[in-house]
């Protein structure tokens, strides 16, 4: 893997969404998947921010790859990531004040995302501009979709609502929006995807290195 020349851009995008899905398959960058998925709005906003940062970091690193000295590459990657995260952080603080109060800390912590650094190191630093962009888009969309799936179930079951609009009448399962519910939801969804993988595709299930 990681030889983008041999794969089309579309394959790269699909790879990020399914085969190497950051959350469900690789099991890295888990913090926001549980912290901000108690409502669909926050989850989506967080997913979009990560998509933006991932794509911008990938294309920046890819464009600069010939100028970066391999010996000091990690600090430079961190600087590039921190720069783009600051950009999205200030943008959200200015334009989405309400949501920013809840997810602001987690937006700033995108800097410490293992997945973004990992893609910069293992893909963008070795590949051309366009494949790197596709890889970033695929990884970002994979993350966004996973966030949407988790927060969809949590908000629907926990509040009986979607995007804040009530959908189901009756008493909701309060536990799903409690902190503990995030762990349950994620564990069950991950188990479910493993089951699909084992049952229909003959896989072994994601091992998840952590």
């Amino acid at each position: 893997m990681n030889h983008g020349e041999h794969r089309t851009n579309w394959e790269l995008i699909k790879n990020g969404i399914f085969k190497e899905n950051i959350l469900f398959r690789m099991a890295i960058s888990l913090c926001p998947a549980i912290a901000v998925t108690n409502s669909l709005k926050n989850g989506t906003l967080m997913g979009i921010s990560v998509l933006f940062v991932q794509v911008m970091v990938n294309i920046t690193i890819s464009a600069l790859r010939k100028f970066i000295n391999p010996k000091i590459r990690i600090p430079i990657y961190m600087l590039v990531i921190a720069g783009w995260v600051s950009a999205i952080d200030m943008t959200l603080a200015a334009y989405a004040r309400e949501a920013y109060k809840e997810i602001g800390l987690y937006i700033q912590l995108i800097v410490a995302f293992a997945s973004i650094l990992a893609r910069a190191e293992s893909f963008a630093s070795k590949n051309k501009f366009v494949p790197s962009m596709s890889d970033g888009i695929g990884m970002g969309i994979g993350f966004l979709l996973a966030m949407i799936i988790i927060s969809f179930f949590r908000e629907l079951l926990g509040k009986g609502a979607l995007f804040g609009f009530p959908i189901v009448a009756g008493k909701p399962l309060l536990i799903m929006i409690l902190p503990a519910g995030g762990f349950f939801a994620f564990g069950i969804l991950m188990g479910f995807f493993n089951w699909i993988d084992i049952r229909f595709f003959g896989g072994k299930g994601a091992s998840g290195a952590g």
């Binding site: 600087l79 410490a112 564990g187 188990g191």
Partner: protein
Amino acid sequence: MDFNKLLELVISASLINNFVFTRFLGLCIFFGVSKKMETSVGMSITFTSVMVISAALSWLIFFYIMVPLDITFLKIVIFIGTIAALVQSADTIMKKVSPVMYHKLGIYLALITTNCIILAVPLINAGEGYTFIESLAFGLGSGLGFALALIIMASIREKLELAEVPRPFRGLPIAFIVAGLIALAFTGFSGLITL
């Protein structure tokens, strides 16, 4: 300095607002290292010390360099740089002092840089405007809370190795369910101190 206030900060950061179970930070490391008791104890010690030192260092940088120069908007970049340098030195010291431990924890030490809690503590300290001593107390409480979470989790997962878990849930999914159960127990602490 009011001692009660400090104690309150330590307890609140370690139990009531436990970083792993109520703020969901540092999960990658939490699930990565908690497979064995031995590694999680080593990780806890390293982690707590790095946490306290980085809280102190970043407080000094924030209030004596960044605030006077009016560059607080660069806090993400500067904090991550400080922490990366600190972790690198911790790595070197550990290699000299305890090579055996280094052999076991070396890979996770590298991971500390990309750990959210280590970065979150300076950011929260700066955001809340804590004093120097309060920042230290907050860092210590957060470190202890993380250590507690790691050790509880490791002792459960060691037992879980022997259990008959349905195949799709083996490994991480069941670890998440266990973490959820512990998190439920931790919500019981929420009434401990009314801040």
